[in-house]
């Protein structure tokens, strides 16, 4: 008996001939997300790897209408698209596709503004934790201890927790996902698309080049990030936090795997000393403390 999975998976809208590096997590994300989104979507691609992955114009490997745009402009442009589509009587979702730099740093004001206005758009942040397209410089989303081309001895500050910032905006839907868990990711995107109003999904995208691991291991590293509780999988909807089964063990400190296991499969933490590792572990523990409070409904954003 066929479950039709193959058929669904063949309906993605990523064409061949992308300019992505081998093992690219953003390619995986686009395959999965487009499978979940279906047809009626317009993409706003904010400056980043995905501006290049599409390939040389006038051709494009994304089988969607795509508006490529400057770094800080994605959510505002999507707001304009959503308004125009309404006015044309078209039921089309405007989807922003941005990297972590475009999200956590230069695009933050625009993102926050669109969230405040509760624009009917879906914002997807493909988080590879640095400015990978321009050579791997640190971003606000790079974790403490990770070396990048602008922090060769390791970053000294914590990763900006954008999902928390977005939850504090009281938007209808905020979720985290990972390219290591395709079903979870597709479910979330499907849900986000159906929501009227602002939804935000941040997808962890382990990048073989910036993170320094073998390109065949992208999915494995993405899984390990979740298993070691480095990257939570949750969704926040109507003031309720749901945590994916895959990381329920992270709610209890005693069952959390040490982050070291996640660090050792990559090259970018090779300069991280004991103290940096401890600080990163503390960041993770604090994040989970807060998630636990939300999960137990002792705290609401």
């Amino acid at each position: 008996m066929s479950l039709g999975v193959r058929d669904i998976l063949n309906k993605h809208r990523l064409l061949s001939g992308t300019s992505a590096c081998p093992g690219c997590p953003e390619n995986i994300a686009m395959r999965l997300i487009s499978t979940a989104l279906g047809e009626n979507a317009v993409f706003v691609v904010v400056a980043g790897c995905s501006s290049v992955i599409q390939g040389m114009g006038p051709n494009s490997a994304y089988n969607y209408p795509v508006l490529n745009i400057a770094f800080a402009a994605g959510p505002a442009a999507a707001s304009g698209i959503a308004a125009a589509m309404r006015s044309r009587g078209k039921d089309v979702k405007a989807v922003v596709w941005a990297g972590d730099g475009g999200t956590a740093d230069i695009g933050m004001a625009s993102l926050s503004g669109a969230a405040e206005r509760n624009e009917d758009i879906l914002y997807i942040c493909v988080d590879n934790e640095a400015y990978m397209n321009t050579g791997g410089q640190r971003s606000g989303s790079t974790p403490i201890g990770a070396s990048t081309t602008t922090t060769p001895m390791g970053k000294r500050h914590n990763k900006k927790n954008i999902p928390f910032i977005m939850m504090a905006h009281h938007v209808p839907y905020v979720a985290t996902a990972s390219v290591g868990y395709p079903h979870d990711l597709m479910e979330k995107v499907k849900k986000a698309k159906a929501i009227r109003g602002f939804s935000y999904v941040q997808v962890l995208c382990p990048d073989p080049y910036g993170w320094m691991f073998d390109p065949s291991k992208t999915a494995e590293v993405a899984k390990l990030a979740v298993q070691t509780c480095y990257w939570p999988l949750f969704e926040y909807e109507n003031g309720r936090l749901r945590i994916a089964d895959e990381c329920l063990h992270c709610l209890d400190k005693r069952t959390r795997k040490p982050v070291k296991e996640f660090l050792k499969v990559q090259g970018r933490f090779k300069h991280a000393d004991e103290e940096k590792v401890r600080e990163l572990q503390e960041y993770i523990d604090e994040m989970w403390d807060r998630l636990k409070l939300l999960y137990e409904e002792k705290l609401k954003f």
Binding site: V45, G57, N59, Y62, P65, V66, L67, A109, R117
Partner: protein, 395 residues
């Protein structure tokens, strides 16, 4: 068409409404403020189909307007001063994408130091962005040019955005008589929106992704050619506008000549003070000085042929309300380049709201007759210059 006493802001807001703009992305501050306030009022009264997106910055204002325009609807925004500078990146993005958008710039000084008054530096700093750039001299013209802008930008020979400048406060906030057309009149002039690239799931295309150098350069050339081609389109649209919408105005040429036929001297101006200059010229003519005014309405495309025809053989004085530091006034530079053999003098004045009226312009013209070369800074009152403090070494 009915007669109303309204400000430049109100006139532009009515133009936006009458042009059936569908989306307006605005960061609602700076001196053009109440264009959006007027629009918001109309919206609340149910008189307006425009959807207003009140964004968090001018960068976003242009991005939202661009997103809407790229999705196939008429889109509009307004800004000035620091706002325009903050928007700069997106201003270029729109022209580079060949997407029709219309914007008002209620021109104003650029800080520091803070100065909220009128000058043209903000507007002039976008000369190279690829936008068609018109400058109004009355609230009537601000309204007319805004409506004309939609027709010009959506013409297939053009497909470029257009901004309309109007002097901050002097035109934006001053009430005067304006002939406002009816919806039917504007409808008879503005065809439905047309554009070559539209975001549409039925025809998925990518806009703005990476281009090979030669293709990129070809696009750049196409923008330049569209600018040149727009001259004809602007004149055509202007004539149609006078025929179908408001039968006054002087839109059968890009720029305007006043008493130039027999003039020995010509004063080149742009914006509201052109009318002061025309009065000054009338009075000087009574005193026997043969002088006329050449009013620049379009700075882009630059109406080279009209400029040469109107000014060649005359002694030319260019008044600039803006400055390109290290060079002189931008208008001066443009005129100078068009008239390599003429006697051309540039005067920079009126910056940051320094008040220049008919009498000051008469003084400037008289000084020019005495000393007709170079670039000068003119202050209407003595003692307005600010000296820098003497420097000190820092320990």
């Amino acid at each position: 068409m009915i007669e109303k006493v309204i400000s430049g802001n109100d006139a532009v807001a009515l133009a936006v409404k009458l042009s059936r703009v569908k989306v307006t992305g605005i960061y609602p501050i700076t001196p053009q403020t109440y264009i959006i306030e007027s629009l918001s009022e109309m919206k609340d009264k149910g008189e307006l189909e425009t959807e207003i997106i009140r964004v968090e910055s001018e960068h976003s204002a242009m991005a939202a307007t661009f997103g809407a325009a790229a999705s196939g609807v008429r889109a509009y925004t307004a800004t000035a001063s620091q706002g325009l500078l903050y928007m700069h990146e997106m201003v270029w993005w729109v022209a580079g994408s060949r997407i029709p958008v219309v914007m008002t710039v209620g021109t104003r000084a650029v800080g520091p130091p803070w100065n909220i008054w009128n000058e043209h530096t903000d507007f002039m700093s976008e000369r190279d962005s690829g936008w068609i750039m018109a400058f109004a001299s009355t609230p009537q013209e601000a309204m007319d040019l805004t409506i004309i802008a939609f027709r010009v930008t959506e013409d297939e020979r053009v497909f470029l955005p257009m901004m309309v400048g109007m002097d901050g406060f002097i035109l934006s906030h001053t009430k005067t008589r304006v002939y406002v057309p009816s919806q039917e009149e504007v409808d008879s002039f503005l065809p439905p929106r047309r554009q070559p690239y539209v975001l549409d799931p039925e025809d998925p295309l990518a806009m703005g992704n990476m281009f090979q150098p030669a293709d990129y350069m070809r696009l750049r050339e196409s923008i330049h050619r569209a600018q040149l081609a727009s001259k004809e389109v602007i004149v055509e649209a202007g004539k149609q506008y006078m025929k179908k919408v408001v039968p006054i105005g002087s839109y059968s040429t890009l720029n305007e000549s006043y008493r130039l036929e027999d003039a020995e001297y010509a004063v080149v101006t742009m914006g509201a003070w052109s009318l002061d200059a025309m009065q000054a010229v009338d009075e000087l003519r009574n005193e026997g000085l043969k002088v006329g005014v050449y009013r620049v309405r379009f700075i882009r495309p630059w109406p080279e042929e009209e400029v040469v025809k109107a000014l060649d053989g005359k002694r030319v004085l260019v008044l600039d309300r803006s400055v390109s530091f290290g060079r002189g006034g931008q208008l001066y530079t443009e005129v100078r380049a068009s008239l390599p053999n003429a006697e051309v003098k540039g005067v920079i004045t009126g910056l940051g709201g320094v008040s220049i009226g008919k009498n000051e312009i008469k003084t400037v013209i008289r000084k020019f007759v005495e000393r007709p070369e170079g670039v000068e800074w003119f202050y209407p009152k003595e003692g307005e210059k600010v000296e820098l403090r003497s420097p000190r070494y820092i320990k």
